[in-house]
Symmetry: C2
Subunit: 325 residues, 2 copies
């Protein structure tokens, strides 16, 4: 048992991505005292991955005064199962099947560890250090390459009976709508409101309006992405503006459904698509409100995350540590 | 403070409907020891309603040994706000605006009281006495004149930040779909999967297939309801069978979305439409599974409530009492 006072305890946050793993040592205020990264992808063997991770983190632990100062390790990972501490069938990681990651980390570091998926970790981070500080009911939506989510109700993250709750990106918003090539589902939120979705909407609109001029036509089709669509929209391009209006409509309709589920105090948007600012936020808010029952209207704060994107993954993962019993 | 042992304590359950109010005294096992009813509708004044309710319940309290045996009073009511103990703008009750019902009951009976909406109360009842006994994550869906819901996650009912969470009947499943004359929304779950919705689907299918014979055509249009559609379906009527197949398809798609929200162990269906049994359950299950991400498939128990419909409202309301602090 550590003799370090609670207020001086630190947390290690590890975010495992398909390409790289980033980590940091974080204090109670959410300041990152030390940070580092290793390659995920080069390790086909999880044991060799854990070994390199340990070698990379150890100097950081010594730098802050040794393991006595560390309360534990929080890990954000795709397909992370909170209950079992396992990563299960993650398509973008080099390790197949079910990986008992918490157990491996715990054995190697001799520190308590907790793991969940990246969007859930982001929600805990937002509750601990960000825009959701003090909130007991909110929903975090991450709008990146995909659409992820973390749901907090009664002050607790909803993990569900199997540890996999909160896959709002895969809810169906347009029955028999656009095909999601990754999941095979038709009309899911993710296939419209991710960065990939914005690109697909732009390509569709260009194809469906062949006579309409657009700045987007100056770019090779392969290069058109959500950033280019945003830039063209800001220059007044009509099709590019329609793309964001449509994206906001679909997102707003979905958010209304989520509000009628858990009636959150706020919905916090995070990730690359948020760079579009009001271009995305205005239609999203309008269509969310329009689809809500009157008792829910004008109550939900729709806001952007307050965490820096570069820090959020580490902060979110580290925040799991403060919840450790 | 009562000196009666906890195991012998009883709960009063009161269910307030637009026409009548039913009540009962319930023990820990869910046996209803005494039951009664008064008119809701005749009382334009809530004070006179509370007075009649008190006169009606008092003999029941004396019958079981006096208030020492009663732990408290649980109330299920439309638009019930758990946090404030109020009924807010309930369109089908005679009292307008915000009614501080818990406070009025508490003052009159001198017993602690708790209130929530009827579907939430049904969920708590199911957790305490019914099919969800011991479950920490489940969703209750009531399929009656309307569609209601109660959501339990981490062993707690989700009330949301304002006390109104769990209005799944009003989530939009078909954007720009059928108009709900009550709410003005288009394409909500309730406008398809309530008893009213089944009737509307039948009328639409009859009108869209004028050349097709159907047993349903033997009934005056005004009389066609979900029960008649069920009976015709059981006699092999094609249109009637299609009505339930369509209803199950919409319900199943919606349930898949709910599963990806809170990943419940089970979804419990309750209410008049459940009389259709497998006619509704089979297509519902099929379309729920088809719309789930693989990690959620073949995991969720889709079952009917184990509570008798006549008892469920009283049991659900009474169950709130055992949660009182």
């Amino acid at each position: 048992m550590s003799t370090v006072p609670v207020s001086q305890q630190l947390a290690i946050g590890i975010d495992i991505g398909g390409t790289n793993t980033v980590f940091g040592i974080v204090d109670h205020r959410g300041d990152i005292l030390y940070r580092g990264a290793i390659s995920t992808k080069k390790h086909n063997n999880v044991e060799s991955y854990i070994n390199e991770l340990y070698e990379a983190v150890l100097p950081a632990i010594e730098h802050v005064g040794g393991t006595d100062y560390i309360k534990g390790i929080g890990i954000g990972a795709p397909n992370g199962n909170y209950y079992n501490g396992t990563i299960e069938y993650a398509p973008n990681l080099p390790w197949k099947g079910i990986v008992p990651l918490c157990m491996l980390i715990n054995t190697k570091f001799n520190l308590p560890a907790a793991l969940t998926n990246d969007a859930n970790a982001a929600a805990v981070g937002e509750m601990m250090y960000g825009a959701a500080k003090g909130m007991k009911d909110f929903i975090m939506i991450t709008l990146g390459t995909g659409v992820g989510s973390g749901i907090v109700a009664n002050g607790q993250l909803i993990y569900g009976h199997d540890g996999f709750a909160g896959e709002l990106g895969h809810t169906i918003i347009i029955p028999d709508g656009r095909l999601h090539h990754g999941t095979g589902a038709k009309g899911s939120l993710e296939v419209y409101c991710s960065a990939t979705g914005v690109r697909l909407t732009a390509l569709e609109m260009l194809e469906n309006n062949p006579a309409k001029t657009s700045l987007l036509r100056n770019y090779p089709v392969d290069e058109i992405d959500s950033r280019i669509v945003y830039e063209c929209a800001m220059e007044g391009d009509e099709i590019a503006n329609e793309v964001y209006a449509f994206t906001g409509k679909i997102l707003g309709m979905s958010l209304a459904n989520f509000v009628m589920f858990s009636s959150p105090e706020s919905i916090i948007l995070f990730g690359g698509l948020c760079k579009a600012g009001d271009l995305l936020l205005k239609p999203t808010r309008q269509h969310m409100e329009a689809n809500l029952l009157p008792i829910f209207r004008d109550k939900v704060k729709l806001i952007f995350s307050e965490l820096k994107e570069a820090d959020a993954a580490i902060l979110g993962a580290s925040a799991l540590v403060w919840e450790l019993k």
